[in-house]
Every structure is written in structure tokens, then in C-alpha cells.
């Protein structure tokens, strides 16, 4: 049984189909990438899968049960969601941000339990943010902030992590760091889905890819099946070089194709 599954889901706002007829399965231990040009519906799909928004057609099943049937608190404990441009509105410390990850376990009047503190500690360690736990999060670099936001999700200890373009504005070092942390999560009974613009990183870190175009699934499958010169030309309108060797699949974009505007 898949950990997460949806068949033919759609999302329609104001009479416009943002997503239509999307099939997707996620197995335990997998890291899946959602790729596609701007406006293809990647972020919308991620929100539907994470239960942040409900599909207007079809259902998303998580652990064999429709997502809508889960209580909001239970869902929050088992599914972590990293929004695009996630940023703190108040100058909280790194540790305070990570403690927010324990909210789905807290009653409104309670302070953090020993177990909560333990999980926060572990999340800080996993994301290597322990060193700046007392710093104000808004004074950190973008890469450090993303790691802190991930630490917040790790503190919840969810089975699934959904991340919306977590590495979009980061330098190569932090891109690799964030991807390694996510990859590390997707093992055993856990899994992750990541929206990515960087096809090179998608090729390196994901087990499978879903390629979206105009709110529909163009194709899906193993990295080598999805990342082909033809698919990239059809969906992105660019020429590219894709090399499969012992290091895995590597991707380089070459030039825009005049006749294939996406």
C-alpha cells in the first residue's frame, strides 16, 4: 500500500482548472520531486497533498484513509509542510521557531515537556542548527533560515515532509545541505515530496519525478525516464544535455528553443 495516494484529483478556483486529473503515489522511503515550469501547478499540487487545501475533485489518501477524514491535529503530527518563502514575522530565536514544531502535541496552557525538549534538541542536531539556537532567526542567512524551518518540521517528527522550493534562493553549499537533510528523512517508513526548479538537484536527490505542465501530469517515473531531452524540450521549451553515468543522472540546460515556447 502506498503511504500517500491520489487518483485523478483536480483543483478549480473561479472556474479555472489549476490542476486536473493528477495521479500520484508515494511509497515509504521515497523522495519524489515535482518539477515543471512556472505556473504548472506544482505548489498547488503540494498544498493539496499536504492537506493545506482540499482538492475540488477526487481525494488524497494518506495511509489508506482520505486526508479529509484525519483530524487536523493528527494530520499536523504526521505531515510536515514547508511553505515557499517561509519566514518568521517576529524576531524569535531559532530555538523558539523549532519549538513551534511541537504545537500539534501541546494543549493551550501547557509548557514544553521533557519529550518536547528532547525532540527540539534532536531536530536542531539533525539540521546542524544547534550552533545558532539562541540567535534571532530573522538575522540569519536565507540558507540558515531554511534549515531552521526544516528543523521546525523535524521537531514534529512527521512521516511525510512536503517542501515547496526549499532551495530556490540558496547558494550551492546550502542547496546541497538542505537536499541532504530532506534525503536523510526519506528512509524507512518516512518519505518526502519536494518541488524543485533545479533539475540537476532533482536528478541527484530524487527517486522518482512527476513532470507537470499546465496543471496536468506530463509524465512520471524514474529520474532517467522523466528527464529526457524530448520531455524537457516539450515542457520547458529548452534544449538540454542529460548524461547518465556511474554518478547518476546529470542535467545541463543549453538553449531556448524558438518553436517550443512553453
Amino acid at each position: 500500500m502506498s503511504l500517500l495516494e491520489c487518483s485523478s484529483i483536480g483543483y478549480r478556483i473561479d472556474g479555472i482548472d489549476i490542476l486536473d486529473g493528477i495521479d500520484l503515489q508515494l511509497q515509504a522511503g521515497e523522495m519524489v520531486g515535482l518539477i515543471g515550469p512556472n505556473g504548472a501547478g506544482k505548489s498547488s499540487l503540494l498544498r493539496l497533498l499536504a492537506g493545506v487545501e482540499a482538492p475540488t475533485r477526487g481525494t488524497v489518501d494518506f495511509a489508506g484513509r482520505p486526508l479529509a477524514d484525519w483530524s487536523a491535529r493528527e494530520r499536523a503530527r504526521r505531515i510536515g509542510y514547508l511553505a515557499q518563502d517561509a519566514a518568521a514575522h517576529w524576531p524569535l530565536s531559532v530555538e523558539q521557531i523549532v519549538e513551534l514544531g511541537r504545537l500539534p502535541y501541546q494543549k493551550w496552557w501547557l509548557q514544553l515537556s521533557t519529550e518536547d525538549r528532547d525532540r527540539v534538541e534532536r531536530a536542531l542536531r539533525l539540521t546542524e542548527t544547534l550552533a545558532y539556537r539562541n540567535r534571532v532567526v530573522t538575522t540569519l542567512s536565507g540558507g540558515e533560515q531554511t534549515l531552521v524551518m526544516l528543523a521546525r518540521i523535524f521537531a514534529t517528527e512527521p512521516e511525510l515532509i512536503f517542501a515547496d522550493e526549499p532551495v530556490a534562493a540558496l547558494d550551492p553549499y546550502h542547496q546541497l545541505h538542505v537536499m541532504e537533510v530532506l534525503r536523510g528523512h526519506a528512509a524507512g517508513a518516512r518519505a518526502a515530496i519536494v518541488v524543485l526548479h533545479d533539475l540537476g538537484l532533482a536528478a541527484r536527490f530524487c527517486d522518482r519525478l512527476y513532470l507537470l505542465q499546465h496543471g496536468r501530469l506530463h509524465c512520471s517515473g524514474a529520474v532517467g525516464e522523466v528527464l529526457t531531452r524530448e520531455h524537457i524540450a516539450e515542457v520547458y521549451g529548452i534544449d538540454s544535455r542529460i548524461v547518465c553515468d556511474a554518478d547518476g543522472v546529470s542535467f545541463t540546460s543549453l538553449s531556448r528553443l524558438a518553436d517550443q515556447h512553453p
Partner: protein, 334 residues
């Protein structure tokens, strides 16, 4: 830069004794010097004496109103700043203060205030409820916080215009003066009945706002993240707005507009709770109560013949202080 984290116990070890001290000060201050201990003994012994009457009929209701209204304004300010994620928000921003003021002005205008002591606060509460109902009609299920703020501005404008209309056509200069003085904001010459009518609404509002503390913490990372953390954004916002309306509406109904407390107090307290929205709520509540007790004692100490209105001194002191806070904190605020 690191954020110092003060233990809650340490904060309240300072705040709560300060609150008690300021309450005693407020009871001591007045045009007549009375012996509080003597008044207390008279009351216990069932003797009706002048000090006992002054304490229990005049000063205690006044001090308790200052305390509860200050608590309401501090808490509501902290709750709205958390909800709107905007440090410039204050309880009046969603239109509830002007709505309540308009309701009270209508009672004055038609000369109903003299018919029963309860008509004035009731008019205020009704005004607050109507204004929040209109806001929710305007906002609907929209998720946008901007829509909420704009609706509040519109309600404020309508309320202000109608108050101006009432002043324009006031029957007599005396009626006009009565309305204006009431609008300036004061807890002087109120009775224990005013406290009785306002307190249930204020307490209900407090509980609703305090209940939403966890949500305000989650909201630090944005609405989408709060949803993913298991919160029903529309429901929590409704609870918060109802909480603010009930408590601030009741407060304004008995005191008129008392500005800047709801704006300044959360700013003052934020560093002491490490900027955490949930912990800011009770801290702002206690600090607001202290601040208004101090301000109300100050207007009585400073005024020789004619008493300065409470709302005037909070604005006089609050506005420049707010400017100072902006200058001081503009680097840390996003």
C-alpha cells in the same frame, strides 16, 4: 544578537506585585484623603461612614474599571498585533471602538442616557456588535488579512462620520459637550453597575483571546504554515475578532475611547516574553492594567480644578512614546 528569555515566573514576580501596588495607589488617590484601613474596618463592621462610601461607591469601581479596561486594551492589542502580524495594529483597527462609541453617542443624542444607567453601555455594546457583524459581511470567508483591515478602516470612517453628524445636529451645546467629554475617554464618576454590565463581556473576550494563543504562535510562520500545523484559520480568526469585539466593545461602552494603550503595551512587553505572541497575551493584559491604573491616578493627581480625561493623558504620553518605540525597534522589526 540573541533574544534573552526571561522565565515567566520572574516576569510575573514583578508584574503582579506592581499591579497590586498600583491598585492600592489608585484607591488612595482622590480629592479627599481617606484612611483606607479605617474605611475597610467600617465596611467589615457594617458601619456606613464617609470614608467607607468613598472607597466602595467611588474609588473601588473606578479603580476596578481602570484595571479591567487596561487589561482588555493591552490583551486585545497583543491579540490583534499577533493576528494581523502587524505591530501597528491596535484594538480600534477593526472598527470596534468607533462602533461602540457611535452606539453610545446615539444614546446621548436621543437623550436616553438619563432614562437608565444601563442604556449607555448597552448602546455601546450594540454598536460594537453591529460593527463587527458588518465587518464579517464585508470580509466573508476571505482569507486575506488586508480585507479585514480595510473593512475595519471603512467601519471606522462610517462611525466617525455618524458621530460627527450627531455632534453637528446636537440639540444644545450642553448635549454636545456631554458627547465630546464622553468620547475623550474616562473612568471617572462610574458606578459599580458599569462594572457589572461590562465585566462579563470583557471576561468572555479575554478567555477567547487567551485560548487563541497557540494559534498566534503558529501564525508567526504565516497562515499556510498555521493550516499545516492543524489550525482552522477562519475559525481562529473569528474567535479572535469576537473576543476583541466583546471585550473592547464593553470597555469602550463604559469608558469611551482610551487610545494608545492597546498599541503601546504589547510593544513594551514584547522583549520580556522573547517576542512570543502567546506569552505576550497575559503579559500585555497585566501591563495594560498597571498602565491604566497609573494613568488614572496621574490624571487625579495632576488635575487641580477640572480633571484631565484619561483618554487625553494616554494619547498625550502614548503617542510620543510610540514614536520612540518605532525609532528604537525599527531595525529588529520586519
Amino acid at each position: 544578537m540573541s533574544a534573552p528569555r526571561l522565565r515567566p515566573a520572574a516576569l510575573y514576580a514583578v508584574l503582579l506585585p506592581a499591579l497590586l501596588l498600583m491598585l492600592l495607589l489608585a484607591l488612595q488617590v482622590g480629592p479627599v484623603d481617606i484612611d483606607l484601613g479605617q474605611a475597610w474596618q467600617d465596611w467589615n463592621a457594617g458601619r456606613t461612614t464617609v470614608p467607607m462610601l468613598i472607597l466602595f461607591e467611588l474609588r473601588l469601581p473606578r479603580a476596578l474599571l481602570a484595571l479591567t479596561i487596561g487589561a482588555t486594551l493591552g490583551l486585545a492589542g497583543a491579540a490583534l498585533q499577533g493576528l494581523l502580524r502587524n505591530p501597528l495594529a491596535e484594538p480600534g483597527i477593526i472598527g470596534v471602538s468607533n462602533g461602540a462609541a457611535l452606539g453610545a453617542v446615539i444614546v446621548f443624542y436621543y437623550g436616553l442616557a438619563g432614562l437608565g444607567w444601563y442604556l449607555l453601555p448597552l448602546g455601546g455594546l450594540l454598536g460594537a456588535m453591529v460593527s463587527v457583524a458588518v465587518i464579517f459581511l464585508l470580509v466573508g470567508r476571505s482569507r486575506s488579512v488586508v480585507t479585514l483591515i480595510l473593512a475595519g478602516i471603512a467601519i471606522n470612517a462610517v462611525g466617525g462620520a455618524l458621530i460627527a453628524l450627531a455632534l453637528n445636529f446636537a440639540e444644545s451645546p450642553y448635549a454636545m459637550q456631554e458627547i465630546v467629554f464622553w468620547l475623550l475617554g474616562s473612568v471617572a464618576n462610574r458606578s459599580v453597575n458599569d462594572l457589572y454590565i461590562a465585566l462579563p463581556f470583557m471576561v468572555a473576550g479575554w478567555l477567547l483571546m487567551l485560548y487563541c494563543g497557540r494559534y498566534l504562535n503558529a501564525l508567526t510562520l504565516g497562515e499556510e504554515t498555521a493550516v499545516s500545523m492543524g489550525f482552522d484559520v477562519a475559525r481562529m480568526r473569528l474567535l479572535l475578532v469576537i473576543g476583541v469585539t466583546a471585550s473592547v466593545g464593553a470597555a469602550v461602552s463604559v469608558s469611551g475611547n482610551i487610545g494608545f494603550v492597546g498599541l503601546v503595551v504589547p510593544h513594551l512587553m514584547r522583549p520580556f516574553v522573547a517576542f512570543e505572541p502567546r506569552r505576550l497575551l497575559p503579559a500585555s493584559m497585566v501591563a495594560g492594567a498597571i498602565l491604566l491604573l497609573v494613568a488614572d491616578s496621574a490624571v487625579q493627581l495632576l488635575s487641580a480644578t477640572r480633571e484631565m480625561k484619561l483618554g487625553v493623558i494616554t494619547s498625550l504620553v502614548g503617542a510620543p512614546f510610540f514614536l520612540y518605540l518605532i525609532l528604537k525597534s525599527r531595525n529588529t522589526l520586519q
